[in-house]
């Protein structure tokens, strides 16, 4: 798995990074820490202050691991920032080793474009960004991979997975399992349904998911929610650390995400949001 973490100098980036570090400790994923510098009227370069922040982020990730259990190369204090392509900078150090990649990059330009291009370049499976990044809505809609929008710390011990007619990928299920570990939470699955014949299909998927999670030692809570009650459900039952939803081609959320009130509702909630593809 490769994770792309979009970071800026907002304090919420540090919180996002601490969450991601917990995920990295569990997954040993390849990771790119991507600093975003919106293009200004300057020379298109990166300020030393921002470079220093990215170095701190790099160190913070490594400090999340026990010294003997770290899959990444150490952070070299004697590093350089090289422009590898116009507007794309990479932190270069002399320290070698590490069985997994930890890349630190900075992109100057439009944040949405920068994040999506980097995700494409590094082949990321998951983009992580904090809930106050202006570009989150566009990235959530346009990305080809899963997107995790991290909001403030909220440990309710429950994560919610919306389930609809969409296909479930093995990768996305593994990601939910990782999230359950990350948030130290139990899994609630809400099957979305509105029509009687649809319930049979959703029930079969619920049963399959229950068995899948049971094999992982997880006992999920299951429930059904009528699509017509979805808005009320999100408003009234707002007790989750994380809300996840599949947004594949046939998904209800794929069809509704950019315009529907549900997306706006989730933005206004305190739960983090994971969009699975």
């Amino acid at each position: 798995m490769r994770i792309l973490v979009a970071l800026d100098q907002d304090t919420r980036s540090a919180h996002t990074l601490s969450q991601v570090t917990r995920l990295l400790v569990n997954t040993w994923a390849n990771v790119t820490l991507l600093g975003i510098v919106p293009r200004t009227s300057g020379d298109g370069g990166v300020s030393p202050d921002f470079v220093a922040t990215m170095h701190q982020y790099h160190q913070a990730v490594l400090e999340g691991f026990d010294a003997g259990d770290r899959p990444y190369a150490p952070a070299d204090e004697d590093y350089e920032i090289a422009e590898i392509r116009p507007g794309v900078f990479e932190k270069m150090g002399r320290a070698a080793g590490g069985i997994k990649e930890l890349t630190v990059r900075i992109r100057v330009g439009d944040p949405t474009q920068a994040i999506l291009e980097e995700a494409q370049d590094c082949g990321s499976d998951l983009i992580v960004l904090h809930g106050d990044m202006d570009s989150r809505q566009k990235i959530a809609t346009k990305a080809d991979c899963s997107v995790l929008i991290v909001k403030e710390q909220r440990d309710t011990g429950r994560i919610l997975c919306f389930l609809d007619d969409d296909l479930l990928s093995q990768k996305s299920l593994e990601m939910i399992t990782q999230m359950a570990v990350l948030f130290n939470a139990e899994i609630e699955i809400a099957g979305l349904t509105d029509k009687q014949p649809q319930e049979g299909t959703i029930e079969s998927k619920l049963d399959w998911l229950m068995r899948y999670f049971n094999r992982k030692g997880i006992q999920p809570w299951v429930q059904l929610v009528a699509l017509s009650s979805l808005e009320e459900f999100i408003l009234k039952e707002d007790h989750w650390s994380l809300v996840t939803m599949w947004i594949g081609e046939t998904s209800i959320f794929k069809r509704l995400f950019s315009v529907n009130k549900v997306a706006k509702l989730l933005q206004s909630r305190k739960s983090s949001v994971l969009l699975l593809r």
């Binding site: 809400a190 079969s204 619920l206 006992q219 299951v222 429930q223 059904l224 459900f233």
Partner: protein, 266 residues
């Protein structure tokens, strides 16, 4: 040895009911039987008359028998003590046939499955049904299968008679399970948060009986609020125990919000 019957259909809710009963069966001595009340045909549909109709009805019944048998067989792989299904022939209302079976079989417990729904309508129908109103024996409505370690929550609006506590302990004599009592007062509007208030009398007999049997009562609280403000209190338990509430009453609304399995006692 407790005699448990699970009323099954060929659906996920029934699988949950079976898994829940089998989980209980790993801690308690109990027989676990399954029953299915056959229906002559799909309600509201009428296919021809005479021999044609009879043939169609027989085919529907046969198909249902096969589906239920297959479902029970697949669950038997994870629960050896699960017995093959007994089919109650079509005839009177489903509830009457199940009640009669429970009485003749001297069942100690009926387990039924129901998927938890955000919308309360089906739950209200269930608690308003004849079977639940008459309660020929305790009924356990299984909605989810959390671990036993999540404990039991007993909700009431005041009095819990000692015979009810005795019936509970007779069914689930599990000293290792933590038990909590929640006495609910529904005196606040939904916009206000629920508040713990001074304890009121009414559950002392039940508490002393369970204590004398070696039960482990973790907490007793009295809370004033509304069904929605108390919903979080009924969200995370192995089992929630109650008497059968009147449909659409505040207690029924509270229980409809619980994803936990519910045990109804009289």
């Amino acid at each position: 040895m407790r005699n448990t019957s699970i009323a099954v259909e060929a659906d996920l809710a029934s699988r949950i009911a079976i898994r829940y009963a089998c989980q209980l069966g790993r801690s308690l001595e109990m027989n676990i039987g399954t029953i299915h009340a056959l229906e002559p045909g799909e309600e509201g549909r009428s296919i021809a008359t005479g021999w044609v109709r009879q043939t169609w009805e027989n085919a529907v019944v046969q198909e249902k028998i096969e589906q239920v048998t297959q479902m029970v067989k697949s669950e038997q792989a994870g629960c050896r003590r699960l017995e093959n299904p007994i089919f109650l022939p079509p005839g009177r209302h489903r509830d009457d046939r199940i009640a009669e079976h429970l009485r003749s079989n001297q069942s100690d417990l009926l387990v039924e499955g129901m998927l938890h729904r955000f919308e309360p309508d089906q739950f209200m129908q269930k608690v308003g049904s004849r079977l639940y109103r008459e309660l020929p024996c305790p009924i356990l409505l299984a909605k989810n299968v959390p671990p036993l370690s999540k404990g039991v929550l007993w909700v009431s609006e005041g009095k819990v008679p000692q015979p009810m506590a005795k019936a509970f302990w007779g069914l689930l004599p599990l000293p290792s399970i933590e038990l909590q009592f929640l006495v609910c007062r529904f005196g606040r509007p939904p916009s206000e948060a629920a508040r713990e208030i001074a304890p009121t009398s009414g559950i002392e007999d039940a508490v002393s009986l369970i204590n004398s049997e070696g039960g482990s009562i973790k907490r007793i609280s009295t809370v004033d609020g509304s069904p929605s403000s108390m919903a979080a209190m009924v969200r995370d338990h192995f089992l929630v125990v109650s008497s059968v509430p009147r449909a659409n009453s505040p207690m029924a609304k509270l229980l409809s919000k619980s994803p936990c399995s519910l045990l109804f006692l009289s």
